[in-house]
């Protein structure tokens, strides 16, 4: 369980996080979304007591992180920027971390096998690829069997097999009852992995919702209708909260009604339909819609597609 209550943090005159409150619950994978510079990494640093908040309170399992006697058993974290000495081997890094909590070589060996770094465990971490560094970071995070697992962009640099492995790992940890808090800019990945989402923009909370609810809430869920009588149908279904867009002579896109309602209206008015297809907004669409205003570093207007922007976020 991670709890933030009214947390604010500025670096110089730049506000990174403002009056942020949310709770991350155990037993779920909670995705942490937000555009670049929205304060995700800052929030994670505050949770780990790496930085002190200017105001508000951050607790992990009921206490400030630094007040826990065995902190690595409370939170296992992988931070976005590398947190490993490049001159040290994976094995020695894990051993040094383990020894602070009275753990020994067997646990280190087990973690190396878990993340599949056996063959390179004695090589200096500086020679590792990004994917290998991520695996080492995950091993480090899981070292002391943490109750909260907090990972910043864990699938960066992983191959498809590695991504699948992380996805199953996170789900498995949540199923064990652990609190799993994971940030990612890959919406499609979040849609597959997360149960719940916390979305921030410009350091403020934008949404704290379930994944399904977030997609459903998006105005971009619509129904595409093809009919020789499209214009008349548009008149028939016209209402204050219904939005109809013309996509061609016989093609319209309807927001605010579901397929059944449109089909019924067409039948009642004797309008022939060639196509009636509900279009589910992707998490990416929903995310773009929510954070559209909060994107601080917008790519060049016009040139950037929606997807490109979301990827950049």
């Amino acid at each position: 369980m991670i709890e933030l209550r009214g947390v604010s943090k500025s670096y110089g005159r730049k506000t990174a996080v403002h009056d942020l409150s949310f709770t991350v619950r155990p037993g779920l994978v909670t995705g942490f979304l937000g555009p670049n510079g929205s304060g995700k990494s800052t929030t994670m640093r505050l949770i780990l007591d790496l930085d002190a908040p200017d105001g508000g309170e951050v607790t992990v399992n009921g206490k400030r992180y630094r007040d826990h006697r065995a902190p690595l058993h409370q939170v296992g974290a992988l931070l976005e920027a590398s947190s490993i000495h490049t001159g040290r081997s994976a094995y020695d890094h894990l051993l040094a971390m383990a020894q602070t909590h009275g753990l020994g070589r067997e646990r280190v060996e087990a973690m190396i096998d878990l993340v599949g770094l056996r063959e390179v465990a004695r090589k200096r971490a500086g020679t590792f690829s990004l994917g290998m560094r991520q695996r080492l970071g995950i091993a480090s995070a899981l070292l002391a069997d943490p109750r909260v697992v907090m990972l910043d962009e864990p699938i960066n640099g992983l191959d498809p097999e590695g991504i699948l492995w992380v996805r199953n790992l996170l789900k498995g940890l949540a199923a064990e009852g652990k609190t799993v808090f994971v940030s990612s800019h890959l919406m499609s990945e979040m849609a597959l992995t997360a149960d719940h989402l916390i979305v921030i923009g410009k350091g403020e909370l934008i949404a704290d919702v379930g994944v399904r609810e977030m997609i459903g809430r998006s105005s971009q869920s619509s129904v595409r209708v093809r009919s020789p009588d499209a214009a008349r149908l548009a008149e028939v279904i016209a209402a204050p909260d219904v939005k109809v867009r013309n996509l061609g002579t016989d093609l319209i896109d309807v927001q605010g009604l579901d397929a059944e309602e449109i089909g019924l209206a067409a039948h009642v008015s004797g309008i022939v339909l060639y196509e009636l297809s509900p279009r589910q907004a992707s998490l990416e669409d929903a995310f773009m819609e929510l954070t559209g205003e909060a994107i601080e570093y917008r790519a060049g207007e016009g040139s950037a597609s929606t997807t490109a922007l979301a990827k950049a976020a």
Partner: protein
């Protein structure tokens, strides 16, 4: 999915466990091992070389050269270099964590932070002492054996010699801790080394430029000069008494460490 929560004995973080962890960190870096070896080679090699030069050239030396000659100082000629390399190693012991991001892992495991600093002081301090003590005695005995060829050597029993030979490793250890404290304050390798070299090597000549009345009263209290007093065998009027000088240097180290400790707890990582 693999089981992660295998039963294991997670224990609370204690100072002793942090010391073990810091020991693993220190010896697992190839750069540390090289730098320690270099310190040893510098301290011994330069001293031995200087003794050989004096022994072979002795017959041709001028009277002034002969009066200025002191067998102990010559055999300890390498210590001035060793103080720099061990000071730099002290800086690196902490700035290496900041430059690589390791500090975030370290503070993640030890969020109270101070146990980490004290562990580094203990581990690095004892390593520095353990390296420099034998180095000092080796270079002394080898150097004096060389000088004995011209019967210009000095014995261990000679007044002040033993104190100086114990003083060298103490001084080098304190210099290493000074570097560690400076590194913890500055948090960048380049800045830390520059600050250390500035204080140890650049400050004395700058003070030398001041009017001699001022320079003479300030000079003995400069960090390197006060610390150096403990292994100076022929104190000139301008230096502090050996142990008094070393105490002054230790005070510098203690104050710098205290500042480092306060900043370590207060600053964002």
């Amino acid at each position: 999915m693999e089981r992660v929560g295998i039963p294991l004995g997670v224990e609370p973080v204690t100072q002793r466990r942090v010391v073990r962890s810091e020991w693993t960190k220190l010896i697992s870096l190839r750069s540390t091992r090289w730098a320690l070896a270099a310190t040893l080679v510098l301290a011994v090699g330069i001293g031995v070389l200087a003794c050989i030069v004096f022994e072979t050239r002795w017959a041709h030396l001028s009277v002034t050269d002969r009066t200025d000659f002191h067998p102990l100082s010559v055999s300890l000629a390498g210590i001035n270099f060793a103080q720099l390399s061990i000071g730099v190693l002290g800086v690196l012991a902490i700035t290496g964590e900041y430059s690589t991001g390791m500090i975030r892992s370290t503070f993640g495991a030890v969020p109270r932070r101070l146990p980490m600093l004290w562990a580094k002081v203990l581990v690095f301090g004892s390593t520095a002492f353990a390296i420099s003590l034998p180095a000092t005695f080796i270079v002394f005995f080898v150097g004096q054996a060389i000088l004995s060829g011209e019967h210009i050597n000095i014995g261990l029993g000679h007044s002040g010699v033993f104190r100086a030979l114990i003083g060298v490793p103490l001084f080098l250890t304190a210099m290493g801790l000074f570097g560690l404290a400076v590194g913890a304050i500055v948090r960048s390798t380049a800045g830390g080394i520059a600050a250390l070299a500035g204080i140890v090597f650049v400050l004395p000549p700058i003070v030398g430029l001041l009017p001699s009345s001022v320079a003479d009263s300030v000079d003995p209290y400069l960090p390197s000069n006060s610390g150096g007093a403990i292994w100076t065998i022929t104190p000139d009027p301008g230096t502090l008494a050996p142990w008094a000088g070393f105490a002054v240097f230790c005070a510098y180290v203690a104050v710098t460490l205290a500042i480092a400790a306060v900043l370590l707890v207060r600053r964002d990582a």
